[in-house]
Point group: C2
């Protein structure tokens, strides 16, 4: 496969914002990107050489979509790994490997993997359904093994009488970590010899929707914590023999220990700032590893960056999005909005993000908090 020019066909499972931002990079290499998504209104719809509407969890549909492609990647992990494997057998380069996606799709298998490899992570038990939840004491975190995303499928149980638990589904119960900070390290890995890890970022969550509210890079932690975070994240990709981009979410606990929370085998919300703040963005890296091209430098090109998600307002009626505050945001130096082209807003839906970059971390964070308050999206219909 020649990696440049439209004779190279790249497929993406999922046509959301992550695929869209990868396509923005693919344009520069003149790569022909083809996308499959269940929604005819997917954000990638008008930016592709070929768009296929279909069920990403249907193995036959995935195989039919990918037959004839040179390479295939994903922007969402809820996809048919059987379909991906069938494409590998047909000679398509598939990034990440289907076995890794299958492992990561199941939070129980993820946790078991960390335990088997001695990778620091919170103590846990697996539970088929509705059994005794008291083995680890309280408080605990209950996570559905499958299908959770953006804080959905996760609940904190304060004590045995807490009735907010998910009933009747296989789940992971974890000891609740006394979290000092939530960090994230995005690691790109093409091969054993071509691995790049970005600076750790720090995540601040919105307690209303349990969605990341503010990402700040670099994290406000010691050099020692930064180094240990990168080392731990890199250890995860090496133990997996991972190929692709792995977002490694970490807890720094109050005792100073770093634990792996969970991982995602794709570009990640905690890496959006790399578009403006780093020599090579996470999306460019995903494209490179998918095409088996050398990874780029992850060096920061700005001293500080912060990222704010643009979420549907809590009371937004479902319908066409109406954005506010963006004109002023564009008039502020160092502020970069990215809208995802979603045709419909719903409460807390990720409709875009805004990155703030600059030379002074405190000023960048202050601007990002202003953006958080002033930029909004709702639907105007009554």
């Amino acid at each position: 496969m020649s990696q440049f020019g439209p004779s190279t066909r790249i497929g993406v499972l999922g046509g959301g914002q992550l695929g869209r931002m990868m396509i923005q990079e693919a344009v520069d290499l003149d790569a022909r990107v083809e996308v499959m998504d269940p929604s005819a209104e997917a954000p990638c719809r008008y930016l592709t050489h070929r768009f296929v509407q279909g069920d990403l969890c249907d193995a036959a549909a995935v195989e039919a979509f990918g037959a004839g492609l040179d390479c295939l990647t994903i922007e969402i992990e809820n996809v048919s790994t059987e379909g991906m494997e069938a494409l590998e057998r047909r000679g398509v380069r598939v990034v990440p490997k289907p076995a890794h996606v299958r492992l990561i799709q199941d939070k129980g298998l993820q946790k078991q993997f960390f335990a088997d490899k001695g990778i620091a992570s919170a103590p846990f038990v697996l539970q088929d359904a509705d059994g005794d939840r008291g083995a680890l004491g309280y408080p605990i975190v209950q996570k559905l093994r499958r299908g959770g995303y953006d804080g959905k499928g996760v609940v904190v149980l304060k004590d045995a009488s807490d009735e907010s638990y998910f009933k009747g589904a296989p789940c992971v119960l974890e000891q609740k970590v006394a979290i000092a900070k939530e960090l994230s390290v995005i690691v790109c890995r093409r091969s054993r010899d071509d691995v790049k890890a970005y600076e750790p970022t720090e995540c601040v969550f919105d307690p209303r929707g349990n969605v990341v509210q503010l990402i700040v890079s670099p994290a406000d932690v010691s050099d020692d914590v930064k180094a240990r975070s990168r080392a731990l994240a890199t250890r995860v990709v090496d133990e997996l023999d991972f190929v692709g981009i792995l977002a490694v979410e970490l807890f720094l606990d109050e005792a100073g220990e770093i634990l792996v929370n969970e991982v995602a085998p794709r570009a990640h919300n905690s890496g959006h700032h790399t578009i403006e703040a780093n020599a090579t963005s996470q999306f460019a890296q995903l494209l490179r590893v998918t095409l088996d091209l050398p990874l780029g430098s992850v060096a920061p090109v700005r001293d500080a960056a912060a990222m704010v998600n643009v979420l549907g307002e809590a009371d937004a009626p479902k319908g066409a999005p109406h954005y506010s505050g963006l004109r002023d945001a564009l008039d502020t130096p160092g502020v970069y909005p990215h809208l995802y082209g979603k045709s419909s807003v719903t409460p807390f839906r990720k409709m875009g993000h805004v990155t703030v970059v600059g030379d002074d971390r405190a000023a960048v964070v202050a601007t990002a908090k202003h953006v958080l308050e002033s930029v909004g999206v709702t639907c105007l219909k009554k």
Copy 2:
């Protein structure tokens, strides 16, 4: 018009690389971009909500394309200004103004405008066809009044016996300037109160094709020359009452005087480095002014940048492009290739560009020269 979201329809006359790079920016504002180009293989073909194949110089076709749009811009100046005017009458916001495009389409009118406004420019005469060429002495530069681009339509006449002149067409004859450097300033202007001029860049030409070979920013000139260059370029946009992006090509002559060579009413080859090297790229600015959004900061975010065009090799047979050297280029920190998605290469055709950024000007230039030697594009067929 709300400037965000797909309910805003932007039309672009021309579907080449300049439109393509603007679309890459438009994705971030979720603007719906629609493109008209004579070629079904135009670089923008697969990145638009609507693609119309048609003759850009046909007023009725331009009007039919643009009816119903919120705003319209251009990425090439050889378009029907009558069609643009018809769209203005229909209420479409047209950027730049048709009258400015008409003036700039004719190098004779351009020169006359500079003379009328006292804007420094080389002495010239207009000639209908084939008259006496000796009025200004020799050497002189003969430029066709219409239709020239990328060095085509321009010839240097050494003396009266020089037979290389264009025959039978209206032209401008200019005294040949004793050029010390060729500079360029890109000025963005939304209104009298919202004007931004980038740092002057320095252009190095390839004598074989008379095409820009290397652009370096900042230009290696004194602060005084930089200030005078920006002032002169800004004076041109103010005298025009221009709206849009104007690339002002300048000569610094051997006596230290700065003269306007010519202008282009659109994004320009000499501004491609702004994608990586400046807080806001020229393409983002064009999008902003088209949407009547505030212009962004033009501050450099890298200390030095250089840009190399990727041109079809001199002996390239016409056909599908085959790129070489890009893998190594991607493996070099600070090197950013941009391919334009052209389906066919011909000798000297602009197929892409590569930007080099860094903290040390000399190192950036050295890397750019290496890219110039090592990155190529040809067609492999015999």
